[in-house]
Symmetry: C2
Subunit: 474 residues, 2 copies
Amino acid sequence: MAELPSKSKGFIDWYLAVVEAANLTDKRYGVKGMNVWTPYGFLARRALDAVMVREIEATGSQPVEFPTLIPQTEFQKEKEHIKGFDAQVYWVTRGGATELDVPLVLRPTSETAMYPIFQLWIRSHRDLPLNVYQIVNTFRYETKTTRPFLRVREIHFFEEHTCQVNEAAATARVASNLGAFRRMADALALPYVAIRRPDWDKFPGAFYSVALDIPVGEARTLQIGSIHHYRENFSRPYGIEFETADGGKSLVHQTTFGLSERLLGAVVAVHGDDRGVVFPPAVAPYQVVIVPIGGKGANAPVESAQSLATLLRERGIRTHVDVSEDRPGAKYYHWELAGVPVRLELGPREAEAGTATAVDRLGRKSVIGPAELGAAVERTLDEFRGALYEKALAEFRSAFETARHLDDLKATTKVRALSWCGQESCGHQIEQAIDGALLGTPEEEFPFASGDPGPCIACGSSSGTRWALAGRPL
Amino acid sequence: MAELPSKSKGFIDWYLAVVEAANLTDKRYGVKGMNVWTPYGFLARRALDAVMVREIEATGSQPVEFPTLIPQTEFQKEKEHIKGFDAQVYWVTRGGATELDVPLVLRPTSETAMYPIFQLWIRSHRDLPLNVYQIVNTFRYETKTTRPFLRVREIHFFEEHTCQVNEAAATARVASNLGAFRRMADALALPYVAIRRPDWDKFPGAFYSVALDIPVGEARTLQIGSIHHYRENFSRPYGIEFETADGGKSLVHQTTFGLSERLLGAVVAVHGDDRGVVFPPAVAPYQVVIVPIGGKGANAPVESAQSLATLLRERGIRTHVDVSEDRPGAKYYHWELAGVPVRLELGPREAEAGTATAVDRLGRKSVIGPAELGAAVERTLDEFRGALYEKALAEFRSAFETARHLDDLKATTKVRALSWCGQESCGHQIEQAIDGALLGTPEEEFPFASGDPGPCIACGSSSGTRWALAGRPL
């Protein structure tokens, strides 16, 4: 197998090589940017979905599924929204040999599919809040270079849509989503920063947008999710109104929360190293791989491995026993490349003693058992997740630096925290200086954005300044 | 709420009314035949998917997901197949403002998406068998009247595709699929018959097709799934060949296994009654609904209900506590309509004694507890599934009758078992007589098709006769 390029020498080359070598996706499908989910990649995606479902349902959201196709007539009801998406939607124009009377859009997102139905579902304040989500595929006719999981034309997408009784309740839902994402990111051991985007970079049709960003080196950032407050921007054109407690009529205030397979790309990007993918246990296709060593035939290690696997599976641990004919060294190499959190080595001596040697993907070795093998494996997985988070957090912290002058932004290798007065013209000066984007202002407490920001880095004004971040979105 | 029409007086009217009243789907979406999965319907679908995943993975199949869009060039490689689908596919012809060079088909099924990739995945006999499945949505530009779950334009679809080393291995995979479906249908308490379709009614491109059919009254039948043996019909045009153990080249033999949301329609159709839906526990959105009765405020029944719910959820039982302000009678009516398998009534006396009154959806009442409440509820659910199956089986049996003369087929209200010589001309005579279809020959042991079938019901020949079934496919 060819060696992987070094992550530090070139992120994108490394990323593409590692995704392919670990067989997470197959890019050879006949439509560029539409990739095949291999069995191994699909298992990671399924585990990721389970994390999202668990956390969003814990906040009272209910699953739904709306159709993939949206009639042109509904799609074009909200003007800003359609302007934002018009250039990148796929159109279905024909059914069999028949030209369709109304062309259909393959959903790029589902506002325009859902809201005509929300208008039917919501009658009274007693129907609120309406918190629903779906996990579906969305489609974008992407003209930029596509990258597995990061920029694709068929996107595995999580989208929550909510209707609230007023603006304050919608703002509270944004906060609830931020809490749910905090717990999802914890499971993935992913440090991130929630940033309120500047007005010129918000979601088409939104009142404001909060993006969830991670740094990926060289001042680059990756948006891995977003939460939007729509106020009445959509409820007005779609007529989503309700009877208030005192018999009046009021429009709902709406929010959305979007995540995608990009989270899987982020897991690869953040945790991966020069030996391959590194999966946090929550999304690992196999959390544990057992490698029995030595003694062909009806030997103890293979049998012990199988019964240990059964024991672990009963505890809900995704476990694989590698009984292939490769040498142990080749197996270790393969499962490290594939990012398995914990490998259990089981030789004749361990089999006899009822122990196993555990090696986690950070290379930390321990002997576990003979008592409470299952609990010991769980503990090893937990500790691995913790160590992975600490490592990622250290790298996260070193990716930021404060900037005091526009010159600091030029050729920077760090995402920069800076003072911004809020004026769009200053924002664009900052963007020019860093050759990237003013990402916006941190929405939650953030270590590089505390205390007095000082005067605006662009115009020097001290009025209305706040901490902002600037970087180069991937 | 309007009363439901009677099931016995008109199946389709009853079916449409019950699906709507139970709020399993919303048909008011802007594209006919593309319906909205409501939260309640989605939970049933999720439970159904879990049954399919459990049983197919137990037979060694791995999950994958292939793109939704198929290039026209790949779609048209297998001639019979394209003939079968050409009139009913949706075409994507435009991306943004650009006409696509190669139009894309929204998959009606995934042979033509998967097989070019299988051709890359399979190199050697060691890569076989390849058993993969996906649960995705498929699309058909349906011109007949659409019906929720039964005939829709966006279909929630399960499809397994396998590649085997030779014809015998493919035949064995068909048998394995029949076993997996047996276990799925058991979970749904659905009696069915596996029927090998006559040649003129097989899947486009198949060597042979086995359909899974259920009777739905008045000699009507509903196909709820199918298993196909493709031999080399697809591997030849797609070039899926492998190196054999002795260094030669050989084409794979392929099979597929297809199921869909129609299974949910079948559950409604078979188990439902004049009071509404009846869910077998495996697919019930809520398996148990607890109704606390009496004593407003900080009263014992509501608290007991909540802690009983926690206890049941810990056992994996999907449980809902109805704390709405409706009267108990209204709640009973609602949850019977919605098909909840077991209702637990909890008044002050029960709360104090630690017991509950269980009423299953067949109306059978019992008092459970105070000891082992969780186990008692599980037992009640199991017994309910058994009783539901017995009831369904009795109806299933009464839906069939042997026919000895073509005249027996005219205006029959039963699906007919009859002798058929295998000739297509006789088949068509039978179809004309019953004003329906020759469904084919039972693939497994079947009570109405045992012993000597006697002479062909159409031509009177005794040569090559076998038992066949004829009915009126819905």
